[in-house]
């Protein structure tokens, strides 16, 4: 007798990104989830597709002056300045904790110079307990490093090729939206050896206190995140997915399952949740459950039936 598919059969949510196996396509965006520890009182890290840590540099970095954050309509500006503990302290203090979980750890990192990018990559390559790395060439809030490499195709290509030469681990490259055509940068980093692309980082923005007539951030400008940027992010994820063969991780303003599904349909293999973690520390769990519920409702057996399913 032919069995009719039961409506309560749980869909297969597992995805593979850059060779990293994930139980579902939901992970935090770097910089919004600390080193994972900060959120363990609220959520079980074993339920996430992956954990992505705060951006690391070779040496500890102090970050920018205050104020560093400002709320805007349906979004927030930040100019933290990549404050982080540095590679050595990360290896010593954070890796042992993260290794206790059965969830892939993706380490986001950046360098002030090309050499630094290479050096950090070499350090991370030898580390057990790390499933892959996310190369940040897109931070808008620091003078050196970051966005300097991410806005020019040949500079992007150069840094990705260098990191690739030092690193056998899966390599995700995180792109900035602050460019004329993101697909050009995406193709350049794909050719230089990236295993996946993550987009988008924050959009450069500015907000002014009308009474003091001063910028609301000490850094003057900051990165805009949150629901305000989501349509821009969906557009760019779609564009990038059309132009590269490697998987795309979609990020930008996701706060619920519907938002996450929008990115998956646009062509993202997985998504990152950022600012929503601040609003609701349990947001990622709600999103995972919501995406599953959507699949059940729609009779979808595998999340891959959703990925890139945009109808034109």
């Amino acid at each position: 007798m032919a069995m009719k598919k039961l409506s309560n059969t749980r869909p297969n949510m597992a995805v593979e990104v850059a060779g990293i196996q994930m139980r579902n396509p939901i992970m935090p965006a770097s910089g919004t989830f600390g080193y994972g520890e900060e959120y363990t009182p609220f959520i079980d890290l074993n339920r996430l597709g992956a954990v992505v840590t705060k951006g690391l540099s070779l040496k500890p970095k102090a970050g920018n002056a205050m104020p560093r954050i400002a709320e805007t309509t349906s979004g927030m500006l930040n100019a933290i300045g990549l404050q982080n503990v540095g590679v050595d302290a990360f290896i010593r203090d954070k890796i042992p904790f993260l290794s206790r979980f059965d969830t892939p750890v993706i380490v986001n990192f950046f360098g002030n110079t090309l050499d630094e990018y290479g050096e950090v990559a070499a350090r991370l390559n030898d580390l057990p307990g790390i499933a892959g790395v996310e190369l940040n060439i897109s931070c808008p809030n620091v003078k050196a490093g970051g966005i300097v490499f991410g806005t020019d195709p040949s500079a992007a290509s150069e840094v990705v090729a260098l990191v690739r030469s030092k690193l056998q681990k899966p390599l995700i490259v995180k792109l900035t939206p602050n460019v004329t055509d993101i697909s050009v940068i995406a193709r350049a980093v794909e050719e230089a050896g990236a295993d996946a692309i993550c987009c988008i980082n924050t959009l450069t923005g500015m907000s002014i206190d009308i009474r003091t007539r001063k910028p609301r951030l000490a850094n003057m400008t900051g990165g805009l995140s949150g629901p305000a940027i989501r349509p821009v992010a969906v557009r760019m994820v779609y564009q990038v997915a059309q132009h590269v063969k490697i998987p795309v991780i979609g990020v930008g303003g996701i706060v619920n399952a519907m938002d996450a599904l929008e990115f998956l349909i646009a062509g993202a293999t997985a998504v990152q949740v950022g600012t929503a973690n601040f609003v609701d520390p349990t947001a990622m769990i709600s999103i995972i459950e919501g995406v599953e519920a959507f699949c059940l409702d729609e009779g979808i057996e595998d999340i891959h039936q959703v990925i890139g399913s945009l109808q034109l």
Partner: protein
């Protein structure tokens, strides 16, 4: 700490522009320590996007509505209506659904039981001092020096008196209590009570003045800083303040939400603190 999806029990204006909100929160009181705070989600829909941090005023238990029901454990916050978030909050009523995350942060540090305790509150900065006072009165004599711009900014003083706290009120315009700054009252009290320990919460200029007074007299001081925050749990690094070891070459930034909001005065770099510290560009 946990995320409570709960309801408001009551929300009343206690002075022009100041409200007291009582929120149902089973188990919250058992975890909460004086000086800690919570992150309040103003409403389920957006905006406002970010949660707002509020100091815990007090925790307590109400008797059950009728036989067979659970007693109601609650947490109380006092807040001043200053922007869009608190503007929405003050329109909420008992029974409305809200979310709160807490208790969060490092509270007041314990200290020698016998010493005289002087609490200095500026306006809404009074909030974390109530729970502290209720603990300190068990072992020490406690004095509250409460300052505000006008009488409207003087809150809950009789509640402190009911704990057995001796209270001194000062206002800038003399509309209630003594006319002048609360720091002038502090200077006088420290002449009499040289061994006192001081706890302060209020606007940064007041805290700096209190710090200078205590520093010059060798008096121990703990301060509770108010900061705008995005996450409240040490992840976003948006609410930092400069620590005592801070230099341009080796900066030391401490998260108000995690290392604080209560700091021993000596752990902060007062020379480099300005009104931008432990603040943000503001909420939308």
């Amino acid at each position: 700490m946990q995320n409570y999806k709960t309801i408001i029990l009551s929300n009343q204006e206690i002075s022009p522009g100041y409200f007291r909100m009582r929120i149902l929160a089973p188990g919250f009181g058992a975890q909460a320590r004086s000086g800690q705070f919570l992150m309040f989600r103003v409403q389920r829909s957006l905006p406002p996007l970010l949660r707002r941090p509020f100091g815990i005023f007090r925790v307590g238990v109400l008797p059950p509505d009728c036989e067979g029901m659970e007693p109601k454990e609650f947490v109380e916050i006092l807040y001043k209506v200053v922007g869009s978030g608190t503007g929405i909050m003050c329109e909420l009523h008992g029974g409305d659904h809200v979310e709160l995350l807490g208790p969060l942060g490092t509270g007041f540090f314990s200290s020698a039981p016998k010493k005289e305790k002087i609490l200095v509150g500026g306006g809404i900065g009074l909030v974390p001092l109530y729970m502290l006072a209720s603990e300190l009165v068990e072992q020490s004599s406690v004095r509250l020096l409460m300052g505000g711009r006008t009488r409207d900014d003087i809150l809950a003083v009789t509640e402190f008196e009911r704990l057995g706290v001796e209270t001194y009120v000062s206002t800038d315009d003399g509309s209630l209590g003594e006319e002048g700054l609360v720091t002038e009252v502090l200077k006088r009290k420290l002449v009499k009570y040289r061994d006192a320990e001081v706890y302060a919460c209020g606007p940064m200029p007041m805290l700096k003045a209190v710090r200078d007074i205590c520093y010059n007299r060798g008096v121990a001081l703990q301060v509770s800083l108010e900061a705008h925050m995005a996450c409240g749990v040490g992840a976003c690094l948006g609410c930092v303040v400069k620590g005592a070891a801070h230099t341009e070459e080796t900066p030391q930034y401490l998260c108000c939400c995690k290392a604080g909001p209560v700091f021993k005065a000596e752990s902060l770099d007062w020379g480099k603190i300005d009104s931008d510290d432990a603040s943000c560009g503001g909420y939308a």
